[in-house]
């Protein structure tokens, strides 16, 4: 893990001198349906900030060459940052938008994310506190080529004409160039998903992102007639109908935003913000509204003398949501409400609108103070009921009205009046402070104002249309103005209403036809449904998918001790990497039967790749007896589980050829012919019923044991290390065939192989010669020969026979100890483990002390190797010297 400091260092190395990366963070960028890792950095250059988005060739990056700049977004007045918290995932979603660019980042919640987002917010605040012309971001020029390789051909390297006079329309600014937007068409980068690089984004964030990208598909625009009015009433009460101002148009407006300044100039109003004028003027407004429609008051906000009242036609009321209002005082001490602004924000259908009524600083020479008031209102007017709070600029449409107090400078009042009387307004407008300040981008950057065709609205002798005749002899000025900002807003009228003579100002109004985005509920549902469908489809497509070449694995003839294997090919045919695993089913203790081995039983496969799984079937001494008795079959259903996906059933079957190995002693003594000559049904019956077929007299011991022992007795008494050295696998198979099929040939294989075959035969039975339930008694009696003897005498007849027969033989072997080098202790240990074989599934760990147990078993058997066994009543056929 590289610390944030390391990361900042790496990013810093990527930047030019004078540029400082102040903060950085890792985030996931939503790209259509998937997310991709990015590194974000906030970079500062001479008080201008920009958000850099880096792609790194590895995460985390180690050197600056790992980084490529994907995009640079200037933190300008169009830059927006919104935060959303995912309720389910707990992830934090950060929406960065600028003009038409919308980027959604997913960040891991925590202090790092908090810090980074607050840094972004701080840079936005810094921008708002900036005085003078807005930043031009010239330093970002050099990055515009590298923002997107695909767009590089379209990039116009010509520098932006910053001195463009037209405020409203300009050539592409640096910012606009930086943001050249990729096509929103969404392509799923299957290849990179396949490599596990970009997992599907969390559903909720994708849906949000998709719905915002498709907004045009489910919204239509509706035109609202918006009436904006502003009047400085000079502290006077209404004394005439307002309808010449408010109802001067043929058609009734859909919405009224009416602002007043200097509603009340009394001390009470200033100090206690309490005035009867509020209600007087409110009533006057309502009485003066257009008579052709019914209106409802949405909100009213007042700070001292500044009042803003918002009304909509009744029919729109239900579409107005999220109403909020705020006030900002910028008067005395920068706080008091004699100057400042009040604002109301609403959402009508799917469009957010903010109305600001402001009264800026007075006096001709104070235009800079007015500029500052404007900036103060911009930075301080925030609607705090929203998280994060919404500022004026966070709205789709903004109307700014009020007594902005900008004057006409560098002109004698007399000349001004003269020009007005000759209707030469254009010369005056050139000297209008607001126009000049806007040209220099010192104030109202991004706002528009319609052409002024009416006379200045200030200052008149109240009650008349005459210019100020007081001693001050103020020059006329267009103090009262209406500006706007946003898309789809068209001003139809901009005028004053000189007929209203109450005040020293004339009221001003503007009529707009503004496009409001309305959600078409039917279309919205359809688009939403499509997005969900597409997501469902993707989710289904991105489930792990494999094909297996064979779900029915058939092994033909399976014989004892002869392993066979088949291959299963699992191919990843899906879009995502697959983790597979064979899992246990039902109450099974393992994912497959004991005669099967799966390799690998779990692994991962990349898309388009395969995995060969080897299925090895091997019937050994552990599994043979169950197959012989029919307790088990060569049949298993394997459950191949894909992590996060489906399960596939794979059936494994085989045909087992039964052998004397795995048969019980009780069954074998009843069989006089080779095992292979007995029908399977009969063998199973013998294993379970244990009655002689056809009334045959059972052998005292299985003939197979006799064959093996007799051979060793005749040829192997002097053989060294008998039972200690292992035989050959091929010879064991040959011996098995000789025993199972019968043969006139001599018994094949070396003495070692034959000795091992004998042990294997004894080990393959379901139970050892001494049944499991007697083991603890035997071990308890191991020091006492008499007790051991009693236990043996109580064994079932055939077991006792075999036990004693083998002990006789072992004693015979030991009588040749001089030649074969065997000793009683060694043989007792070997046969102790055979006669008293542990039950299956008792792991060595489960036993008290394996070494002690093994010693006790050996000492149990030892008694029978060193003591005279002639007092046991023996059947004649048990004598070793019997005829063959």
């Amino acid at each position: 893990m590289s610390s944030n400091q390391d990361l900042i260092g790496i990013i810093q190395a990527k930047l030019s001198s004078g540029e400082t990366a102040s903060s950085c963070h890792e985030a996931s960028l939503m790209q259509g349906w998937v997310r991709a890792s990015r590194i974000l950095a906030l970079v500062e250059h001479e008080n201008e900030w920009a958000l850099f988005i880096f792609i790194s060739s590895r995460m985390p990056p180690e050197v600056f060459t790992d980084l490529a700049i994907e995009r640079v977004i200037p933190v300008d007045s169009d830059f927006k940052c919104e935060i959303d918290a995912g309720e389910q995932s707990g992830d934090v979603y950060v929406n960065i938008s600028s003009r038409k660019l919308k980027l959604l980042f997913e960040m891991i919640p925590g202090i790092k994310t908090n810090n980074f987002v607050s840094e972004i917010m701080r840079s936005m605040e810094a921008l708002m506190k900036l005085r003078g012309p807005p930043p031009e971001f010239q330093w970002l020029h050099k990055y515009s080529g590298s923002t997107s390789n695909r767009n590089s051909a379209d990039c116009d390297p010509a520098p932006v004409d910053a001195a463009d006079v037209d405020v409203t329309k300009g050539a592409k600014t640096v910012a606009e160039k930086m943001l050249d937007i990729d096509s929103p068409d969404i392509v799923v980068p299957r290849q990179s998903i396949a490599q596990g690089a970009t997992p599907i984004a969390a559903r909720e964030s994708v849906i949000r992102y998709q719905m915002s990208m498709k907004e045009d598909d489910y919204t239509f625009t509706e035109t609202l007639r918006v009436f904006i009015g502003t009047w400085n009433v000079n502290g006077l009460p209404p004394n005439a109908s307002l309808s010449p101002w408010l109802a001067s148009d043929m058609e009734p407006p859909d919405l009224y935003a009416v602002g007043f300044q200097e509603l009340d100039l009394s001390k009470e109003a200033f100090l206690f913000n309490d005035t009867p004028r509020e209600e007087e003027w409110r009533k006057a407004v309502i009485a003066g509204l257009h008579p052709a429609a019914k209106y409802r008051q949405v909100a009213l906000v007042r700070l001292v003398g500044m009042m803003l009242i918002l009304l909509v036609q009744e029919k729109h009321e239900k579409h107005v949501r999220n109403v909020a209002w705020e006030t900002v005082g910028t008067g005395i001490m920068g706080k008091m409400g004699n100057k400042g602004g009040v604002g109301i924000r609403v959402e009508i259908h799917n469009t957010s609108i903010c109305f600001v009524n402001s009264h800026l600083a007075a006096h001709v020479e104070e235009f800079e103070r007015r500029n500052q008031d404007y900036h103060d209102i911009c930075s301080r007017l925030s609607f705090s009921k929203f998280v994060p709070t919404k500022c004026i600029k966070d709205h789709d449409q903004v109307y700014w009205l009020g007594d902005l107090n900008y004057r006409i400078t560098e002109m004698e009042p007399r000349i001004v009046r003269d020009l007005i009387s000759h209707n030469s307004l254009s010369a005056l407008l050139e000297c209008d402070q607001l126009n000049r300040q806007r040209q220099h981008k010192n104030v109202f950057d991004g706002y528009r104002e319609g052409p002024i065709t009416f006379k200045p609205t200030y200052k008149y002798d109240p009650g008349t249309d005459d210019w100020d005749s007081s001693e001050k002899n103020r020059a006329p000025a267009w103090c009262d103005r209406i500006l706007w900002r946003g898309d789809g807003m068209e001003q139809k009228e901009y005028r004053s209403h000189p007929i209203l003579r109450t005040s020293d100002h004339k009221p001003v109004s503007a009529l707009f036809e503004s496009q409001i985005r309305v959600i078409d509920v039917v279309k919205y549902r359809k688009v939403h449904e499509e997005v969900m469908k597409k997501l469902d489809k993707l989710e289904n497509e991105f489930l792990p998918q494999v094909t297996v070449d064979n779900t029915e694995i058939i092994f033909d003839i399976v014989r004892f001790l002869e392993p066979q294997s088949q291959e299963l090919i699992i191919a990843n045919t899906g879009q995502v990497p697959v983790d597979f695993e064979f899992i246990k089913k039902l109450d099974d203790s393992k994912y497959c039967k004991e005669w099967l081995n799966i390799d690998p039983a779990a692994s991962s496969i990349k898309p388009g790749e395969k995995c060969d799984v080897k299925l090895e079937l091997f019937v050994d001494k552990k599994s043979a007896s169950k197959l012989n008795s029919g307790e088990d079959k060569l049949y298993d259903i394997l459950v191949l589980h894909l992590d996060g996906g489906k399960d596939i059933f794979i059936t494994v079957t085989g045909n087992y050829e039964r052998s004397c190995f795995g048969s019980s002693l009780e069954a074998l003594v009843h069989i006089s012919v080779p095992v292979r000559e007995i029908p399977i049904g009969k063998l199973v019956e013998l294993e379970n019923v244990r009655e002689a077929p056809g009334g045959m007299e059972p052998y005292p011991i299985p003939k197979e044991i006799w064959f093996l022992v007799d051979h060793l007795y005749r040829h192997g008494l002097k053989k060294q290390n008998l039972f200690l050295l292992t035989g050959l696998h091929s010879e064991l198979i040959a011996i098995r065939n000789w025993l199972d099929n019968g043969s006139s040939e001599p018994l094949p294989g070396s003495l070692y192989s034959i000795a091992e075959a004998l042990l294997l035969l004894l080990e393959s039975t379901a139970e050892p010669i001494v049944p499991f339930n007697l083991h603890s008694v035997c071990l308890g009696a191991a020091t006492n020969y008499l007790q051991c003897k009693q236990i043996i005498m109580q064994l079932p007849e055939f077991r006792r026979n075999v036990f004693l027969y083998l002990c006789f033989f072992l004693q015979e072997l030991l009588s040749h100890a001089n030649e074969n080098g065997l000793d009683a202790k060694t043989l007792a240990t070997v046969f102790g483990a055979i006669f008293l074989r542990d039950p299956p599934r008792v792991s060595a760990r489960g036993r008290v002390n394996p070494a002690v147990m093994d010693r006790k078993k050996a000492s149990f058997v030892y008694h029978f190797l060193v003591n005279d066994l002639s007092d046991y009543v023996m059947s004649k056929s048990l004598h070793l010297s019997g005829t063959s």
Binding site: R203, M532, N540, I583, I637, V639, H641, K646, I648
Partner: protein, 201 residues
């Protein structure tokens, strides 16, 4: 604040004899498509689909099971955790209808006690080979108190309705019980993670 993309997650299960059209029903519902080639499902597969019911977004995770007899003991181990079970027979196959009773017994033995059930008589578009009248389907459904629909994955008859009805029944049951918090908890309980490791438990 962010809205959840779905409010609830329901796990549904399709069971019934081999060849009655369980996979086709699921395919029609999830992909709105149909193919007449029969590929026997050898295992347990699922698809997801999000639906909106009573103003709630519900993510359905629908499990399709192997119908072959030899897999029955294994497939029953997947019943637990299912909130709704579609029991499908083929109207052109008398035997698959007769087995409905056996499947119902299976559900009683292995599924959650309060699982919502629904009987579907599929392939109702094939009138020429019909072996089971609609009346008989309705009768057995009435007898066991289980909703019933005749469907056709091929002709897209009643497929959406079947899933919507079943999901609605589950939804209503929760609404009837502990109001408010219950659905969220259910959703957590039935996350795939629970069953996937063990597969059959």
């Amino acid at each position: 604040m962010a809205k959840k993309t779905y409010d609830l997650l329901f796990k549904l299960l399709l069971i019934g004899d081999s060849g009655v059209g369980k996979t086709s029903i699921l395919f029609r519902f999830s992909d709105d498509a149909f193919t007449s080639t029969f590929i026997s499902t050898i295992g347990i597969d699922f698809k997801i689909k999000t639906v909106e019911l009573r103003g709630k977004k519900i993510k359905l995770q629908i499990w399709d099971t192997a119908g072959q007899e030899r897999f029955h003991t294994i497939t029953t181990s997947y019943y637990r955790g299912a909130m709704g079970i579609m029991l499908v027979y083929d109207v052109t196959d008398e035997r698959s209808f007769e087995n409905i009773v056996k499947w119902l017994r299976n559900i009683d033995e292995h599924a959650n006690e309060d699982v919502e059930k629904m009987i579907l008589g599929n392939k109702c578009d094939i009138d020429s080979k019909r072996a089971v009248n609609k009346d008989r389907g309705e009768a057995i459904a009435r007898e066991y108190g289980v909703p019933f629909l005749e469907t056709s994955a091929k002709a897209n008859t009643n497929i959406d309705k079947a899933f919507n009805d079943l999901a609605t029944a589950i939804l209503d049951k929760f609404a009837g019980k502990e109001p408010g918090d219950a659905p969220d908890r259910v959703m957590v309980d039935t996350r795939r993670g629970d069953t996937s490791r063990r597969g059959c438990c």
